[in-house]
Symmetry: C2
Subunit: 334 residues, 2 copies
């Protein structure tokens, strides 16, 4: 699929979805829309992903199959400044893919235009309407779940990096996406944070069963087990995925919960114990590896931070974007 | 409010909501509807609650303000055999209150009839539509949360018993209801299991703030922290309520998860550690007391079971339906 990525005024630091698609999706990206950076190229800002021109609006982008909304604002709202681009995309015959709480298919203008043009509006965050409670049954595939000390700590990125490393070894490996960005990259999944809480573990279980013909599944965790707002989503995925192995993700230097600065993050080694002890009665998984996001550290600092993180946890660790994931992959496949 | 309770073929053992209303609500119960027991009286089956006649259908019941659906079937469906009673109630000018996933207000016949008669259909499980994520802010009132080793372990009952004991001491005390039965008894609340998982902690927080003008709040926990299906709801309430004190509820002799018999329940003392360690980073609450459901044990067995449970946890324990809650109340108010 050929796509254009909408990321106005936020590319690349605050456009997690756009950067995720550039880095991990099979899609060919024909352009990034960011009116602040028009004229630049993607590789001017993110060197190690596929390159593409950055343009000011949809009319300036090459023809393609779909416009992907590549930003995920807190609250999941729709920015009215995006409307002309979504309108233009539909008129150009492109599908529009979004992961917002605001559903494009329920927007009167977009729904009417899409109907006239015969294009699809795909709201990947809208859950299926036939979900149910978990049965408690796991799968035969090896299930590796990324868990975190906080939101935005590298759980999704870790899954895709570990999947690619496993595929290089000839394994059938898949990411099980549980959030909007992962769903856009992989093309399937359920946004567990949008599911009725009674059904959140059941929805996770359904995803894992659906992918169970692979040798190994990398399940995208969400939130953190002691997060003041999102621990429910975390616990549902922890039990609903029936993991064999856990990978603890952390951001180097982060000491308080993102957006909740009065809450101090527990130490990673304490978090390791929390995850293992809560998982145990349902699925006796151990934290077999650590992933550390070292963005912002220089080379030597990053290496030291990763080594220190592995030592604290007592397991192999890496920054999978910066370094290879071989030792971590060995540890989670054992 | 004067109410009739619908509990066909399930009173009293499998009519948790009806028995809860009889025992704890301020409502005057004019009749219980159970076609299998018509002609008996409530006290023939449940001796220690308000008495009322048991009748075969709504037409046989004395006039009142509302018909309350007093059963909560797994899955939350509507039994078509209840339709004649709901229809008759509306025609008699009664409101109808239900806590089902199936919403009476969306039933075409009931909605039309209710409109004609000017009566309300109150679906207490339908969440408010303006929920949002938790802010992470607690309240000044003392917050006591009942947590459990399983579903149906006495968390709701414990809250109402402790509330009544606190009121006897002259304290302003309120139950914060998080499930359909508690909501029907107290007349307010949110069914957290029905809330979008991203907003579950936020919805709990809203309830606690709403009741914060009391001296002490008894928050109704849900599920269990290591439950294969419902741990997400549990974790959201654990953090969203910002508890000062936890009370661990357990059913004497239960060894496997109800409805999930392949899962062994962790020992209560291990569960105590799970709750405290996961709560700590957000709200450093301790398990200060235990509640044991000894239904089915004879007097001496029950006393021994309660003493043994308290010894294992190292805190005061009681069966609040069978014995007084004084020592437990002392412990959670300290």
């Amino acid at each position: 699929m050929r796509v254009a990525l909408l990321a106005h005024e936020l590319f690349p630091e605050r456009a997690k979805t756009a950067v995720g698609v550039l880095r991990y999706a099979d899609h060919e990206v024909v352009a990034v829309l960011d009116r602040d950076l028009a004229g630049d190229r993607v590789n001017d800002h993110v060197p190690d992903v596929q390159d593409a021109p950055i343009v000011a609006d949809a009319a300036d982008a090459p023809d393609c199959d779909a416009l992907v909304v590549g930003v995920a604002p807190i609250g999941g709202g729709f920015e009215e400044s995006w409307r002309p681009d979504v309108r233009a995309a539909i008129r150009q015959g492109w599908d529009v893919v979004a992961g917002l709480h605001y559903l494009l298919a329920e927007d009167e203008e977009f729904a009417r235009l899409a109907d006239e043009q015969g294009v699809d509006l795909r709201d990947v965050r809208a859950p299926p309407d036939d979900l149910s409670v978990a049965t408690g049954e796991g799968v035969d595939a090896r299930v590796v779940l990324t868990v975190g000390t906080d939101c935005s700590s590298g759980k999704m990125t870790g899954c895709f990096e570990l999947r690619d490393a496993a595929r290089e070894r000839g394994l059938d490996a898949a990411v099980v996406p549980t959030g909007q960005t992962g769903i856009m990259i992989a093309g399937w999944g359920i946004a567990i944070d949008r599911v009725i809480s009674d059904f959140a573990a059941g929805a996770t279980e359904r995803l894992v069963h659906r992918a169970s013909d692979n040798d190994v599944l990398f399940v995208e965790g969400q939130g953190a087990l002691a997060h003041p707002a999102y621990s429910g989503v975390t616990a549902a995925i922890l039990h609903g995925s029936h993991p064999d192995s856990l990978v603890l993700c952390h951001v180097a230097g982060r000491e308080t919960v993102g957006g909740y600065d009065t809450y101090t993050l527990p130490d990673p080694e304490r978090y390791l114990g929390l995850y293992e002890s809560v998982a145990a009665p349902v699925a006796p998984a151990t934290v077999d590896a650590g992933l550390l996001n070292t963005q912002g550290l220089d080379g030597e600092e990053a290496r030291e931070a990763v080594d220190g993180y592995g030592d604290r946890l007592g397991v192999p660790a890496t920054d999978p974007v910066r370094y290879d994931a071989d030792a971590v992959l060995d540890a989670v496949l054992e």
